[in-house]
Amino acid sequence: MPILTIKNLSIHFYTPKGVRKAVDRVDLELNKGEVVGIAGESGSGKSTLALGIMRLINYPGKIVSGEIYFNEENILKMSEDDFNKKIRWKKIAMIFQGSMNGFTPVFKIGDQIREVMEIHGYNGDYDKRIKELLNMVELDESVANKYPHELSGGMRQRAFIAMALALNPEILICDEPTTALDVITQAKILNLLKKLKKELNLSIIFITHDLALLSEISDKLYIMYAGAIMERGDSLQIYKNPKHPYTQLLMEAIADINKDYIKGIPGFMPDLANLPNGCRFSNRCPFAMDICKKKEPELKRLDGDRYVSCWLY
């Protein structure tokens, strides 16, 4: 039984230009102790999906349909208070791209972690827990007494991970947690997350546009394009044998030192307020057929855990 199940989730933004379908009928499953990677280019709705899980979609955005089950409990049906008391940060925590800037500059790291623990009613010795957390993310205990500006970006990101782990969550949503960091720090953070996953039996949703990075950590992989899932399946299988043309092109776009140029994908992602009739990738797809422009493909199951949304299969 998956710990987190998303069924048919749609998140729309009601803008003056029209309804933008940022997340369109997405299904997702996350098992205990598993890392699910979500990849896709900018604007494909990855972060909106993450914010949707945290119930942080603000006006003009709205969750129009779908269910999110955490341990068989629909968290979208909960009242805001209930969600804050039971789920937020206690069960599902989140780190994001800018989370190294997520500390208020005028307070010490330790005090900010303590504040979160106080708000969510942690019972236990705060000081001991803060030290424990900092050790967990391989930071010195003295960091608790420092101000954010005294730490490097990587250290702050670790400190934020410590804050995310403060209340022993079961799910950690990482929304591009390493994007703003250099490769060495990226590797360290990634190894840290791997270690934490193993030690704490964490379930992680890892969102990034960096497929190379994702291959290091993810067990399952979801490829998103223009708000919808294009392909999903076992991480290794997708890397070895990408089925969807978008996945294939995405893999080819990974920088390689042996190639003298990076192959991009020509064209632009369609306007989310004005999606084409057929497949949403049809205008850029090198294999586009007639049917692609007319009818939208379903997410078809190939074998086992492998799904692809393409008329080729």
Binding site: M54, M94, F96, T104, S142, N145
Partner: protein, 452 residues
């Protein structure tokens, strides 16, 4: 290492940044000096401020005297008041009345007669009659008497006696009987040229005879030969020393300036901060209210309100604060809008921190440096506004302010009469008291927002 860091935070950090900056240091020293003067004024002269409007209290002071240090330029024409005293002798005593005699001697070598002569005799029961014999160096004498004897009497009190003396000497009624003319009559050579400005130099003798009820004691007696120079900053037409007035104005100016500035900055920052923090329709509504109050013409509005309400010091501060908070609200709102989009404010949402808590703990601290800088910078504005209202005659009751001194200077035509000290010094003080706040404000602003 942690210790050095924590020592550099909070109040200490502010003090350090201000003192390290040269203009900030000068500002701090000036403010400390002003505060010391205010404390001195409050502790030593609080009774004087109650008497400020009471003209009898200032009777023994010279009127319209220029600053005493002016006498260094012309010691024979500009001089300070001299007070002489004597031991009273009883010359007749009975069970119906007592007669005292007071004999004074003094030498006069100046080129000018005193501006006035004031006789001050303090007794424990009313004086029934008083007669003054004024003997000039050449032996000629005048007798001064009055029908209504009082304990403090100047030459105007005896103007009928002196007027008839002048008329007798020069042959016609003098055109004006100012105390200056009367004094000239007492010091000039007898004859046609009594009032032509020449002064008899030498030993003068005054003999005062007073009749009192029996068992009366003379507690104090003095004759003031009023000079035309007094104190550091001179005196006004009522004899009130300008330096004392300036001293008494200090605590009021500082108090009302700081109070107004603090109230309006705190109000402005909180309202502007909330407005920028919340955004949306609340923001629009609050911003609209802010702008409406901002465009109210402050001075006419304050004049009308002060006239209707006759406020005390605190109410006046509140009134001015009510009209000046929008300035700070607008600046705070714009800062708030940028802080609102900082990652850590958004992170608070993810963390599930309630928004009121985000506002007070993570949001307002970012606005404090701004608030402190603008509190300091707002003081001069507030002081000037208060002094302006005082100048227009709307001083809070019972307060001595520099504006009210300027107001009386204006209504007594100080500028026309050339009593420059009455206008210059209070005016300079208003500027002077503003300077350190601006310097400190700039020092903080520089420390907080950077820049040259």
């Amino acid at each position: 290492m942690n210790k050095t860091v924590s020592a550099e935070t909070g109040v200490k950090l502010y003090v350090n940044t201000i003192i390290k900056n040269k203009s900030g240091l000068i500002g701090v020293i000036m403010i400390l000096f002003f505060v010391a003067l205010s404390i001195y004024a409050v502790t030593n002269f609080s009774n004087v401020s109650h008497q400020w409007e009471n003209s009898i209290y200032w009777e023994t002071y010279p009127k319209n005297a220029m600053p005493y240090w002016m006498s260094y330029f012309n010691p024979n024409k500009i001089f300070a008041t001299e007070a002489i005293t004597t031991k009273p002798s009883i010359i007749y005593s009975s069970n119906t009345y007592d007669i005292y005699q007071l004999n004074y001697n003094f030498t006069w070598y100046k080129e000018m007669a005193p501006t006035d002569v004031v006789f001050y005799i303090k007794t424990n029961s009313p004086i029934e009659s008083i007669q003054i014999l004024w003997i000039k160096p050449d032996g000629t004498n005048i007798t001064l008497s009055t029908t209504s004897p009082v304990s403090v009497s100047d030459l105007i009190t005896y103007s009928s006696s002196i007027d008839s003396y002048i008329t007798e000497q020069i042959g016609y009624v003098p055109p004006s009987t100012t105390s200056q003319t009367l004094s000239q009559a007492l010091f000039g050579y007898e004859g046609k040229g009594l009032l032509n400005g020449t002064i008899e130099k030498g030993l003068y003798r005054i003999s005062i005879t007073i009749v009192t009820s029996p068992n009366t004691k003379i507690l104090l007696n003095k004759v003031y030969l009023e000079g035309n120079a007094y104190g550091l900053f001179g005196t006004d037409s009522y004899g009130r020393p300008i330096d004392l007035g300036i001293l008494l104005g200090f605590p009021n100016a500082l108090e009302i300036g700081l109070l107004t500035s603090i109230i309006s900055v705190i109000g402005g920052v909180i309202i502007g901060g909330i407005s920028g923090f919340l955004g949306g329709k609340t923001d629009s509504a609050m911003n609209w209210v802010t702008l409406v109050i901002l465009v109210l013409p402050a001075l006419p509005f304050l004049v009308v309100l002060s006239y209707i309400m006759r406020p005390n010091l605190i109410l006046e501060a509140l009134l001015i604060a009510f009209l000046s908070w929008p300035f700070y609200a607008i600046i705070a709102r714009s800062s708030a809008q940028s802080i609102k989009n900082e990652t850590y404010v958004e992170a608070d949402k993810v963390l599930g921190i309630p928004s009121y808590r985000t506002f007070f703990t993570h949001f307002l601290p970012r606005l404090t440096p701004f608030a402190i800088a603008y509190t300091a910078l707002g003081v001069p504005g507030a002081i000037i506004l208060v002094e302006t209202l005082s100048f227009l005659g709307l001083t809070p009751a019972g307060l001595v302010t520099w504006g009210s001194i300027l107001n009386s200077a204006e209504s007594n035509l100080a500028a026309v009469n050339g009593w420059w000290w009455w206008i210059l010094f209070p005016g300079v003080m208003i500027i002077l008291v503003s300077i350190p706040f601006v310097m400190i404000g700039f020092a903080i602003e520089k420390a907080v927002f950077g820049g040259k």
